[in-house]
Amino acid sequence: MRIVGALLILVGTMVCARAETLITSLSNHRVLINSNYTGTQIAVFGAIERDAQTVARATAYDVVVTVRGPRQFLTVREKERLGPVWINQEQQKFPTAPAYLNVLSSRPIDEITSDQLRQRQKVGLSAIINAADFTLNRDGADQPFRDALHRLKAQEGLYLEDGRGVTFLTPEIFRAGIALPATAPPGNYDVDVTLFADTVILARTQTHFELVKTGFEERVGVIARDWSLAYGLSTAALALFFGWLASTIFRRD
């Protein structure tokens, strides 16, 4: 047993020793959202470095870039017929679904690596959404809800997959463009870059960027959440003021 363990560690270190390293950089680590924000684009640049001992590979490299937005607690509900009306009945909770999910790859993801590895390492949109721990109660009937989550988020432009989203500029240098729609919520975004060759993962890096709301809207949003009574009172005061203003301007007597 011990020998097997030692061997495994040895194999592990050997893998590390001959490994390529991945260097990545984002064009922007902080995106400011103001009132006329209509979405933006963030570029990921990356270079693959091989140490001296490593021989050139026979197959080309593949890169998968996975962008995850802030985590949300989501409930997906299904309308079913009850007598003459359609009402929400079944539901499924997704406690840590990313608000935004974008998987970019240099080739269609099913050509890069095997099904099992994708499931295990959660590579690709469907592998992430179909992961066992993605939903709270797993009683078998969750598949339609996962599909619905995928479909609805895709319709909003928040769950994306692009099998040609990563471009190799040279065999060792690549770039990818992360498109963020205006509906992507503010918060922390994780960017995972995974390097593949011949269906095996060689290296992984993670960086982050942040979407920050600024200006008037952000202040109003914060006040509405943290000072809800003051917010309600001032909205009420505004409404009363406008009502009074209208009655003086359009006075008929």
Binding site: F73, L152, Y231, G232, G243, S247
Partner: protein, 300 residues
């Protein structure tokens, strides 16, 4: 929620025009319109209450100047309305947690609009026919002609309205209006006014002012409670609705003076039935997308 500013202003003006035309708050039209536009029902209902506050403030101030307001009756109505509002906001939050808020709102709209719309339609058609036949219909109070519930205990004298009635049915009415108002984002003027007129026989001179007084107070409370418990009030949207509505209402009111009363009521009834029908269809037709997502929490 990216929605065009001009569209909201335009809708506010259009609904304001109609509300000025009919002398009603217009919440019952604006809230459904906002929902059809894709604004979450919770936000639509809560924000629309700000617009109701503004428009009824204008009419209360007008009524005060004309001295067309029964303070005592108004105070009783407000007392019941406060309780109703609080219950409505509480129920709103509970239904939202259970994921059935949309259903509750839609069913309530269908029921309320179908009932009130058909009653009004019936009334206006009957009025129209009797006018054709030459007989004038009038609301007149005859001595001794009272519904039994007006004689319940806790009777109170309202000098301005020339009433001596039990306050229990009045409190009941205002409780219901407060509840419905908070739940549906309507002021409830289109229910209170006919109820005060036909059930309690309050004189026409004070009925509008008094009901508007009640609406300002209860909607104000509903607005603040919505902001605190549901955080569903959108101040920017509220301002847009108010500004659009204020101007629309003025033009509507000017137009309204050239329209005949029973034609008014007929048009209003059709409008109510149409909105009710639109909601009813949504409930009965097979939805294109049976699934929906609600975000409970975002961890930033």
């Amino acid at each position: 929620m990216p929605v065009s500013v001009l569209l909201i202003l335009g809708m506010g003006a259009a609904v304001g025009f109609i509300s000025g035309l009919f002398g009603i708050g217009g919440g019952f039209l604006m809230t459904p319109l906002l929902i059809f536009l894709g604004i979450p029902p919770a936000v639509a209902v809560a924000t629309q209450s700000a617009q109701i506050v503004a428009s009824s403030t204008t009419s209360v101030l007008g009524a005060l100047r004309r001295n067309a307001l029964d303070h005592k009756l108004g105070a009783i109505l407000v007392a019941g309305g406060f309780v109703g509002s609080a219950l409505g906001v509480w129920f709103f939050a509970a239904a939202r947690r259970a994921g059935q808020l949309d259903l509750v709102i839609v069913i309530s709209y269908v029921t309320l609009f179908t009932i009130v719309g058909s009653l009004m339609l019936k009334e206006s058609i009957r009025e129209f026919w009797s006018r054709r036949k030459g007989g004038a219909v009038r609301l007149r109070r005859r001595a001794g002609e009272h519904a039994p519930y007006l004689g319940w205990p806790l009777r109170m004298r309202f000098y301005r309205s020339k009433l001596y009635v039990s306050i229990i049915p009045i409190l009941g009415l205002s409780l219901f209006i407060g509840f419905a108002g908070a739940l549906l984002g309507i002021g409830g003027g289109f229910i209170v006014v006919p109820a005060l007129l036909y059930i309690f026989r309050v004189p026409t001179t004070v009925v509008v002012g008094t009901s508007q007084f009640q609406i300002v107070c209860t909607t104000l409370v509903a607005l603040i409670l919505h902001a605190v418990t549901n955080q569903a009030v959108d101040m920017v949207l509220a301002i847009l609705l108010i500004v659009g509505g204020v101007f629309g209402a003025q033009f509507g009111a000017r137009m309204g003076r050239h329209l005949r009363a029973e034609l008014f009521r007929f048009l209003l009834a059709i409008l109510l039935l149409a909105v009710g029908l639109r909601f009813g269809l949504e409930l009965v037709l097979k939805p294109e997308e049976p699934f929906s997502i609600t975000t409970q929490e975002t961890r930033t």
